[in-house]
Amino acid sequence: MSDVQLDPRVPAGPIQEKWDQHKFDMKLVAPHNRRRFKVIVVGTGLAGGAAAATLGELGYDVHAFTFHDSPRRAHSIAAQGGINAAKNYKGDGDSIYRLFYDTVKGGDFRAREANVYRLAQVSVDIIDQCVAQGVPFAREYGGLLDNRSFGGSQVSRTFYARGQTGQQLLLGAYQALAQQIGKGAVTTHPRTEMLDVVVKDGRAVGIVTRNLHTGAIESHSAHAVVLATGGYGNVFYLSTNAKACNVTAAWRAHKKGALFANPCFTQIHPTCIPASDDFQSKLTLMSESLRNDGRVWIPEKMDDTRAPADIPEAERDYLLERRYPAFGNLVPRDIASRAIKLEVDAGRGVGPLKNGVYLDFGASVDRLGGDVIRARYDNLFEMYERITDENPYGQPMRIYPAVHYTMGGLWVDYELQTNVPGLFCAGEANFSDHGANRLGASALMQGLSDGYFVLPYTVPNYLAPLLGEAVVPTDDRAFVEAERSVRQQTERFLSIGGTKTVDHFHRELGRIMWDNCGMARSEASLEKAISEIPALEEEFWKDLRVLGSAEDLNQGLEKAGRVADFFELGLLMCKDALHREESCGGHFRLEHQTEEGEARRNDDDFAYAAAWGWTGKGQEPALHKEPLEFEHVHLAQRSYK
């Protein structure tokens, strides 16, 4: 893969002017010509829904695909806490530059400055757009928009809609998309899973899909393909992600030539409900916003069996406030997660399995009153009680970190185009703006920025020179071959006839990943995973049992394809983690820490994005480096003390 071009194509000029200048420089497609271009958007979460709606509104012939039964459902819907924007409505010193600065620093200096600056710039437009769509953000009594603060920042810039921000934003995008569908500008293909990208003469020219109701394998050609297919946290089996989240779309694109960048950068969220038993099917997030009013603590005394209320103040260790006085409970996620893990590993955890720490609202209820706390978090408290049968108004919550978000993804340039021309990638599926650690409330911002405000400019820039060119017909060899390999894989799953379910293998893979490539990694643990994953994968292909047929709804078959891809991805994650001899953000290598147990970056050798190329099954992946330069935010060890 020596011919891979890794040019981020960042426009010249001062950072504040790059995007405006570039918008002017990009090529346009005249309104009457737009309908002649067919654009496929895979994924209708925040990123894909917004992109499909906007491209449809502009007049392109858009085809939107989702494996959900409706574009109203996507993992995005579960986002609770909020969305950042540099509106400075609170007059507390926020600005586009500060949001940019916080995001680069919060990402532990592993993001591309120009992209992050654009994100901060566009953030203000997102709020305007969503409010105009009717998104019911929280308001103050005067009728103006309210904000709260989130981890990793000292200003209040987070807009929220109770604990259901993702739901309301996604419904906004879905409604915009529904309008275009109603008008016939966008065609939707729900319950349709993309199983391959078709590449011809080096360009993306379409996709191959499976209709999940009928099993039909079909080809769709287009002038450009956008993947907005979400993150891959479910490689760990247990995570806060929705059950259907997977890497298949991005991974199959990777195998067709798209580079996969920084796969090892995974985010562990500090505040999730601890696992209660082995049957656990997923972990539930308790929004980061709770850290605004909740204080994290553990008993000073080991094995203290008293009820939390009976432990006096003086015998409580408020561990985040102790370690990080400046940011206290609002340190970034990676920092909070690690601090909690250290205590629990040392045997100081609470709860029946001693696998959590307290998150206590007592002080805030005393200070603000129960009504205020109820108005802010009621739905989260209810959810906690439904799951644990404990009432957080009466006793502190118990929380523990869990896999939550993946910063890695398909490598994209400034225009969100992968190294395969015509193939774009947006939202959590790409590797862009969050570096090695994402700040809270920034994923929703990025998804909507990509979908509403970036792709609608950059996709046309790619399309314009193709005016008059027909799409590649679906009987072309490239399509026929892609279809054949998809069919073969389906048949293979059904013919193994082994003894173990897909879930069994998924759970086992998840265990390997969590134990060896989770919150803390070492050379030894990673080597171990690198030897265990292929062995388990081999067993998967020998002993898997998928029942039913390929001709109708078959959830086992769907999962089998996704888990097959997780094996290959998991291996790459471990290799990436092994090669990165430093600790940064969500990537913590035990060999690289300070005396106090904080992450130690190695900027001399690792200030780059690692973009891996697929070289074939069983082959070593090829590493391509995109050097990262920091002209504005000066490289420094992060400090939240």
């Binding site: 039964d69 996507a74 579960a78 997923k282």
Partner: protein, 257 residues
């Protein structure tokens, strides 16, 4: 250790839309009361696979009560016995040892069965496509704080906007009416200042489309009982008012065109 339950499940099995279905009986043992209802089905499915029988198909995704994917009739109640709770958030502690639990798909003409407990709810999308939006092209929006929205209006709109589109309201209704779903979306938008320009057109288009697919409302109120977000049927009354007014206004407006 938490308590465990032994249960008898009667589950609707149907291979595909066109084939006939029937209730099948399964004994499930040693179910922890801390399990969610879907985790209990996961365990049963694991066992069925082990026995070489096809697992029960059911929809789910977030398992947090927000995506609206899950939903089944549990002992004749949409989403089961706990009020304001989607199936995925229902926990086994709501059942007693020795219980028999009947599990069926949503029953409604507008929701044809796809397989087992999975139904096709795309008719709900058609209602939104007919007018459940506010027109604003990306980039054309005014500064967000230009239009203050009184907190009460914003809260009332939110209570309606909380709908997760699961279809329980339709499944619970003896007439399979789509009123609560439609009213929730319509009134979310119609109560906000941003929603006013398209208010009357929206009301007429959404209600007319609803009537193409769903039965008519005779005020049973079962929908509110079943709604996992406890959305109030007061919104249906508001919708009816808007619809009647819309019919009048739109007629007048069309006379001016």
């Amino acid at each position: 250790m938490s308590k465990t339950l032994n249960l008898t499940l009667k589950v609707w099995r149907q291979a595909r839309a066109a084939s006939p279905g029937a209730l099948e009986i399964y004994d499930v043992r040693d179910i922890s009361e801390d399990m969610s209802f879907l985790e209990m089905l996961d365990i049963l499915n694991d066992r069925l696979s082990g026995e070489g029988k096809e697992p029960i198909a059911f929809e789910h995704d977030c398992r947090e009560g927000i995506c609206g994917s899950c939903g089944m009739m549990i002992n004749g109640q949409a989403h089961g016995p706990q009020r304001g709770t989607a199936t995925c958030q229902l926990h086994m502690r709501k059942f007693a040892d020795g219980d028999t639990i009947v599990v069926e798909p949503w029953r409604a003409a507008a929701f044809p069965v796809v397989k087992d407990l999975v139904v096709n709810r795309s008719s709900l999308d058609r209602i939104v496509e007919a007018g459940g939006y506010i027109t604003v092209s990306a980039g054309a929006a005014p500064e967000a704080n230009l239009t203050p929205v009184p907190k009460d209006a914003s809260d009332a709109a939110f209570d309606a906007a909380a709908c997760i589109g699961c279809g329980a309201c339709v499944a619970a209704c003896p007439n399979s009416a789509g009123q609560l779903f439609t009213a929730a979306k319509l009134m979310h938008l119609n109560l906000l200042p941003q929603g006013q320009p398209e208010r009357w057109q929206r009301a007429e288009n959404m209600v007319d489309t609803m009537e193409e697919y769903f039965g008519s409302c005779t005020n049973h109120g079962e929908c509110e009982e079943a709604c996992p977000k406890s959305i109030s049927i007061d919104y249906i009354a508001l919708m009816n008012k808007d619809y009647i007014k819309a019919k009048r206004k739109n007629r007048k407006l069309s006379g001016q065109r």
